[in-house]
C-alpha cells in the first residue's frame, strides 16, 4: 500500500513536470490559442481616461482598448471578444511574458531595454507622447526649471521615474521624489498636497487632471522632457502573432490615409482604388498571410473605424481630454504616423 502511494506520488510529480514543460513552450501558437479560447486577453491600465478606462456602463473604452478590439474584430469579427486584465506598471511585463495576457496595450513606452531584454516586442506606436509636469496654478510656476526643492509624485516602475531623474540631475535641480505603486495613489497624494508636482506622460496628465476635484486650479507645463512612444507589445518568439498585431495597427493607419471610415466602409467596398480593394479584402488574400479571414480590414473598420476616428473618439480635441493630433497626425498631414502599404 505504502509503495503504491509512493509510486502514485512519483507519477504525479513526473506528470506535473511533463505538463509544466508542455505549458512552458507557449512561445508559438498564440493565435491558435486565442482562437481556441474565443477571446483576446488584453492587458490594460487600471483606468487612464482616453486610453483604457471603464465608461459609465462599465465597458472598457479608450484608444488602447480599441487596438485590442480591432484585433478581436480581425480574428472573430466581434469587437467584444476581448477580456481585460487591469495591470499596474510593475506587473505588466511579467503578465505578458508569463502568458497571462496575449497583448499588452497599456500606455507602455517603447524603449531599447524593454524591447531587447524583457522578452517582448513592440508592435507599433499608437500614441506619440512625452513626459510633462502638472503643478498648482497658485504656485505661480511657468517652467519646470523653477521646481528646485519641490516634491514630485511619480508612479513606480515607469520610464517617468528615469526621465525625471535624468532631467532634474542634468539641470542641477534638487527635488524630492515620492513613488507610489498605483496611479490613483499618486494622484491622491498630489491632490492632498503631499507633492507640488505630478509628472507622467502628458496625455495621462491631461486625463488625470479631470479626476481632480478642481481641474482648473492645476496647470500642465508646456515643457516636454522626453520621448514616450506608447504602443502595444507582444511576447517575443511568436512571429505569426506579432505579424497579425503589427498589421492590424498598420491597417488602421492605411484606412485613414485612404479615407476609409466606419461610415463609408460599405460604399468603399465598391471602390475602384486597388489599394482600398486590398485593404477591405475585395482583392487579394492578405488575411491568409496573417492567419485571419480575408475581409479582416472590412471587419475592423466596420466595427471601430480607422486610426483617426479612434483618436478623435477618445483623446481628440472634441473629447474632455482634448489633445490635438500634433505629431500623431498622418505623415500626409504633417505628423509622423506612417504605415507600410498593404500589398
Amino acid at each position: 500500500m505504502q509503495k503504491k502511494l509512493l509510486l502514485a506520488a512519483l507519477a504525479a510529480t513526473f506528470g506535473m513536470s511533463a505538463t509544466a514543460s508542455y505549458a512552458a513552450s507557449h512561445g508559438a501558437g498564440t493565435l491558435q490559442a486565442v482562437m481556441d479560447k474565443g477571446f483576446v486577453q488584453c492587458g490594460v491600465t487600471g483606468g487612464v481616461r482616453g486610453f483604457s478606462a471603464p465608461d459609465e456602463n462599465n465597458n472598457w473604452t479608450g484608444l488602447e482598448v480599441d487596438f485590442c478590439r480591432a484585433l478581436a474584430s480581425a480574428i472573430f469579427d466581434d469587437a467584444d471578444a476581448v477580456r481585460y486584465t487591469p495591470l499596474t506598471s510593475t506587473e505588466r511585463f511579467a503578465a505578458l511574458s508569463s502568458g497571462e495576457i496575449d497583448v499588452l496595450s497599456r500606455t507602455t513606452t517603447w524603449t531599447m531595454t524593454r524591447d531587447t531584454s524583457l522578452g517582448i516586442n513592440f508592435v507599433g506606436v499608437m500614441f506619440y507622447d512625452g513626459q510633462g509636469f502638472m503643478v498648482r496654478k497658485s504656485d505661480g510656476i511657468t517652467s519646470a526649471l523653477e521646481l528646485g526643492g519641490a516634491s514630485v509624485c511619480i508612479e513606480a516602475g515607469t520610464t517617468t521615474e528615469l526621465n525625471a531623474a535624468d532631467y532634474f540631475s542634468s539641470n542641477n535641480i534638487d527635488v524630492n521624489t515620492v513613488v507610489f505603486e498605483e496611479q490613483d495613489e499618486v494622484l491622491k497624494a498630489y491632490e492632498d498636497g503631499r507633492c507640488d508636482v505630478y509628472t507622467t506622460d502628458s496625455s495621462a496628465l491631461a486625463a488625470e487632471r479631470l479626476n481632480l476635484e478642481d481641474p482648473d486650479a492645476h496647470l500642465i507645463l508646456s515643457q516636454i522632457i522626453s520621448k514616450e512612444p506608447l504602443g502595444p507589445s507582444v511576447r517575443q518568439g511568436d512571429d505569426a502573432w506579432f505579424n497579425l498585431n503589427r498589421w492590424v495597427y498598420f491597417l488602421l493607419l492605411n484606412a485613414e490615409e485612404l479615407g476609409v471610415t466606419q461610415a463609408n466602409v460599405d460604399d468603399m467596398l465598391a471602390s475602384d482604388n486597388p489599394a482600398i480593394k486590398r485593404l477591405l479584402g475585395v482583392e487579394g488574400t492578405y488575411g491568409d498571410l496573417i492567419g485571419v479571414s480575408n475581409d479582416w480590414g472590412y471587419r475592423i473598420i466596420k466595427a471601430l473605424g480607422n486610426y483617426g476616428e479612434m483618436y478623435e473618439r477618445h483623446v481628440g480635441p472634441n473629447t474632455e481630454i482634448g489633445i490635438a493630433r500634433g505629431v500623431n497626425a498622418l505623415w500626409t498631414d504633417g505628423g509622423i504616423q506612417y504605415a507600410p502599404p498593404i500589398r
Binding site: 524593454r114 521615474e161 495613489e185
Partner: protein
C-alpha cells in the same frame, strides 16, 4: 479456530509471493517476519526486508525526487527565459540605477548602482522595523497591563483600542493614517512652527540638524566611557544591595558622572555644536533633518497594529502567572510596581517571549506594505522599481526573499537566545 486456519494459509501464500517478487509487499512481510522472530530468533532478515533500510531507501528516493523536481523546474525556467530572450544573471547589480529615491540613509543619486538601491531599501526597511519593534513593545506592554488595570476607565479604554486596531486590516490602517491624516496637516506655507525650530506640515516633520565640529569625537568617547562606567556602578550597587540590603544611590551617581564628565570634556576640548535651522526657501523648508510623512504613517500604523497584538500576548502572559504569586509578593510587603516588575513580569515573560517573536517577525514583514503609501523600503525600490527597470523578476524576487528570510531568522535566533536566558532554570 475456524477462522484461524485460513489466516494461516493467507500468510504462507503472501510469504511465497513476496519471496518471489523480492522486496514487494512490505507490510505483510514485516508482520510475518515479526512473528517469526519470536519463534526462531537468530534468523536474520535480508537487507531488503530490514524496515530501517527500507525507511532510508524511501526517504532517499523521495529526496532524490524533490531535488530532481527543483533542478528540472530551474532548468525549465532558464530554458524558457532564454527562448523568450529575457536577460538572466546577476550582472545588473553593477549597472546604474538611473532613478531617484526620496528618502535614503546613505548617499544615493541616479548614478548609483542597483546594489546601492538594494542597500538603501534594506536600510529603510531596517529603520522602520527596528524603531517599530521598540515602540510596539513599549506600547504593547503598556496596553496589555492597562487592560488588566483595576481602574475601570483605563481597562475599558485599553480594550476598545485593542479590539479596534486588531480587527481592521493593516493596509486600510496605513491608508487611513497616510491619506486621512495627511489631508488634515497644514501645507508648507501654513506650516506649524513648533518650539525648538521644529516644523510640521504635510511634507512631514523638519527638525534642526546638529552640525558637529571635527573634535566632537572626544565628547562621544567620553560619553561612551562614562556609560560603560555607569554599567559597572550599577553592578556594584546591586552586589552591595544583595550583601547589605542597602542600595547605594547608583542612579544619581551615574547621572552626575555621565553629565559631569562628558560636559567637562566638551568644555575643555572646545568642540562646537551648531544647529542647521530649517528655513522656508521656495517650495519647501531647506536644511535640517526631513522626516517624510510616509515614514511617520508607516511607523505609526505598524506600531499600533503590532502593539495591540502584543498587548493581548502580555495580558495572556500575566494571567498565566498564578494569583498566589501576586498574593505572596503582597504579603512580603512589596509595592504594586515592584510586585509587577520583580515577581509577575519575570514569570510572565516565559509565556510572552515565544509569541512575541512572531509579532516582531510580522512587523518586519508587514513593512513591505509600505509600497502602497510611497515609503521607499526594500519591496518598493528593489522589487518594484528595480525589477521593472531590469526586467529580471526571478533574480530580484529571489534576492528579496533571501533578505527577508535572513532578517526573520536573525530576529528569531536572537529571541530564542533571549528566551533560553530567561527560561526557568532547574537547579
Amino acid at each position: 479456530m475456524a477462522s484461524g486456519v485460513p489466516l494461516q494459509k493467507t500468510k504462507t501464500a503472501v510469504k511465497r509471493i513476496s519471496s518471489e517478487e523480492g522486496w514487494l509487499n512490505m507490510a505483510s512481510e514485516n508482520e510475518s517476519s515479526g512473528s517469526k522472530a519470536v519463534s526462531d530468533a537468530p534468523a536474520k532478515a535480508s537487507l531488503v526486508n530490514d524496515p530501517r533500510v527500507r525507511a532510508i531507501f524511501y526517504q532517499a528516493l523521495l529526496l532524490a525526487g524533490v531535488v530532481w523536481f527543483f533542478i528540472y523546474i530551474f532548468g525549465n525556467l532558464n530554458a524558457n527565459r532564454a527562448s523568450q530572450n529575457i536577460r538572466t544573471g546577476f550582472d545588473f547589480f553593477g549597472n546604474t540605477s538611473s532613478f531617484d529615491i526620496g528618502f535614503t540613509l546613505i548617499d544615493y543619486d541616479r548614478s548609483s548602482t542597483f546594489l546601492d538601491v538594494l542597500i538603501v531599501g534594506f536600510l529603510n526597511t531596517m529603520l522602520v522595523a527596528v524603531i517599530g519593534i521598540i515602540l510596539a513593545t513599549i506600547l504593547g506592554f503598556a496596553l496589555g497591563i492597562a487592560r488588566l488595570s483595576s481602574n475601570w476607565i483605563v481597562a475599558r479604554l485599553a480594550t476598545i483600542l485593542v479590539e479596534t486596531f486588531r480587527n481592521i486590516p493593516l493596509l486600510l490602517q496605513m491608508f487611513f493614517w497616510y491619506f486621512g491624516v495627511l489631508k488634515l496637516m497644514p501645507g508648507v506655507k501654513q506650516s506649524l512652527e513648533l518650539p525648538l525650530f521644529i516644523v510640521f506640515n504635510n511634507r512631514g516633520i523638519v527638525t534642526p540638524a546638529p552640525i558637529l565640529s571635527d573634535n566632537f569625537n572626544t565628547v562621544w568617547i567620553a560619553l561612551l566611557i562614562t556609560i560603560v562606567a555607569a554599567f559597572f556602578v550599577t553592578r556594584w550597587a546591586n552586589a552591595r544591595q544583595d550583601a547589605t540590603g542597602i542600595r547605594p544611590p547608583a542612579a544619581r551617581i551615574n547621572a552626575a558622572m555621565i553629565i559631569g564628565v562628558t560636559g567637562a570634556v566638551w568644555l575643555i576640548s572646545g568642540a562646537s555644536l551648531n544647529w542647521s535651522i530649517p528655513v522656508l526657501i521656495g517650495f519647501n523648508y531647506q536644511n535640517g533633518i526631513h522626516i517624510p510623512p510616509e515614514f511617520l504613517a508607516l511607523l505609526w500604523a505598524l506600531t499600533i497594529y503590532t502593539a495591540v497584538f502584543i498587548a493581548e500576548i502580555v495580558r495572556a502572559g500575566i494571567l498565566a502567572v498564578p494569583t498566589g504569586q501576586s498574593e505572596a509578593a503582597k504579603s512580603l510587603g512589596l509595592k504594586e510596581g515592584d510586585r509587577l516588575r520583580q515577581v509577575i513580569i519575570p514569570q510572565a515573560l516565559r509565556v510572552i517571549v515565544p509569541p512575541l517573536t512572531s509579532q516582531y517577525l510580522n512587523l518586519t514583514k508587514n513593512s513591505s506594505l509600505a509600497v502602497a503609501i510611497g515609503y521607499p523600503e526594500l519591496v518598493s525600490v528593489f522589487m518594484g522599481t528595480s525589477l521593472n527597470q531590469t526586467g529580471q523578476a526571478v533574480e530580484v524576487v529571489a534576492v528579496t526573499m533571501l533578505i527577508y528570510l535572513t532578517l526573520s531568522l536573525t530576529t528569531s535566533a536572537f529571541m530564542n537566545w533571549y528566551n533560553a536566558r530567561i527560561a526557568l532554570t532547574e537547579r
